[in-house]
Symmetry: C2
Subunit: 224 residues, 2 copies
């Protein structure tokens, strides 16, 4: 009987890593809101496992900075303070600048070509006003920059920072005219990278993200 249940659990494939990703997704996509408590028992029953793996998942999320943990207290989805949020946006701009700069120096011919093609293709989405699709393209675009820097540790830092910022920049493309502006800024970055103009690429990427951060901060303040 016990075995049967275990098999079922394994069938559903709920390992700790999957739980981490699932919960992280919920936080990042806003399914769980900042400040919300993450009760171990509730999560355990939700994922059909015992509390032990849930605890490990929560600890990992804590290390990732997505949830806060205090002794004898439930894990809580981190509600980032205004100043810390600002510091993350600023750090993000710096990191994007680094990635764009290094990409301009190091991207392979193939990477440059793919970046440009993908970018050109996104113009269609701008004209169509396809916010969802453009958001997906945007994620892909930036990931290309992160990879193009050919620096694994920077990649890790920027990826992690982006994950932690995700909850606060969800609706960024809803702002009127933001799509076209984003495309324009992407264009500057791409052009600079193709030209291998590292300084210009870094500057363009920094500004691009810094601007997004301002808009998003305004939105977050107004939206909540």
């Amino acid at each position: 009987m016990k075995q049967v249940r275990r098999r079922e659990v394994i069938r559903t494939g709920t390992t700790v890593e999957q739980m981490v990703r699932a919960i992280a997704d919920m936080i990042v996509t806003g399914a769980i809101l900042p400040g919300e408590k993450l009760d171990e028992i509730t999560l355990a029953s939700r994922f059909e496992v015992s509390r032990t793996p849930v605890r490990e998942a929560l600890r990992e999320l804590g290390a990732m900075g997505l949830v806060g943990r205090e002794p004898n207290r439930s894990a809580v989805v981190t509600n980032v303070t205004g100043t810390y949020l600002h510091s993350m946006f600023e750090a993000m701009a710096e990191l994007e600048g680094i990635c764009a700069r290094l990409s301009a120096e190091r991207m392979t011919v193939d990477e440059r070509r793919a970046l440009e093609l993908d970018h050109r293709g996104s113009m269609r989405l701008v004209h169509a006003g396809a916010e969802e699709d453009y958001a997906a393209h945007n994620t892909e675009f930036h990931t290309r920059l992160y990879r193009g820097a050919h620096n694994d540790h920077v990649f890790e830092m920027v990826t992690q920072t982006r994950a932690r910022l995700a909850p606060f920049r969800r609706a960024q493309f809803r702002l009127p005219g933001r799509l076209a502006k984003s495309y324009e800024e992407h264009d500057q970055i791409v052009t600079s990278i193709i030209r291998a103009d590292a300084a210009a690429a870094g500057q363009a990427a920094y500004s691009h993200v810094a601007i997004v951060s301002d808009a998003s901060a305004v939105f977050a303040a107004a939206g909540e």
Copy 2:
């Protein structure tokens, strides 16, 4: 009986967080070498706790990147590959550059004064050839830069990166003439910050760390 044992354990005060710090220290100071296996049972008996908290500690160390974890395998002190190590040193230089640049813009009068005083005081250590003491001062010096940037997220990233790099830069001041050179480079950084010359401070800090990284990489390659 059980209670008594528990009390003893609590007396020794071995909580998960303390274990994380203890193990992290062992890794960072080289008491445990990269590639070494971290057996849960051994650690549990060493810290006089059960395997459960040990597992949580290991998971946290894994999230910090200090140990690697694979399914059904012991946790292993991460043996950073050459290219990843290089990427961390490069990232460290970038981060130090950011911190110095922001410090030049944002440090309070008190922070600038303390930085300069501490720096001037370290000349004595250089003359005395006090490598240990200078290393301590050096850590303090850089921490001042990290704090002076007034950006909490950057502070976190740079601190974490430094922790992960620590095992690989232990003997950096043993290299002949390195002390004086370090002081000289610190001097450029301090001077630029006092002058509020952000670009110069950033450049100086970047070069300072990049140089250290080269020397340390050489040492690591030769030493092992």
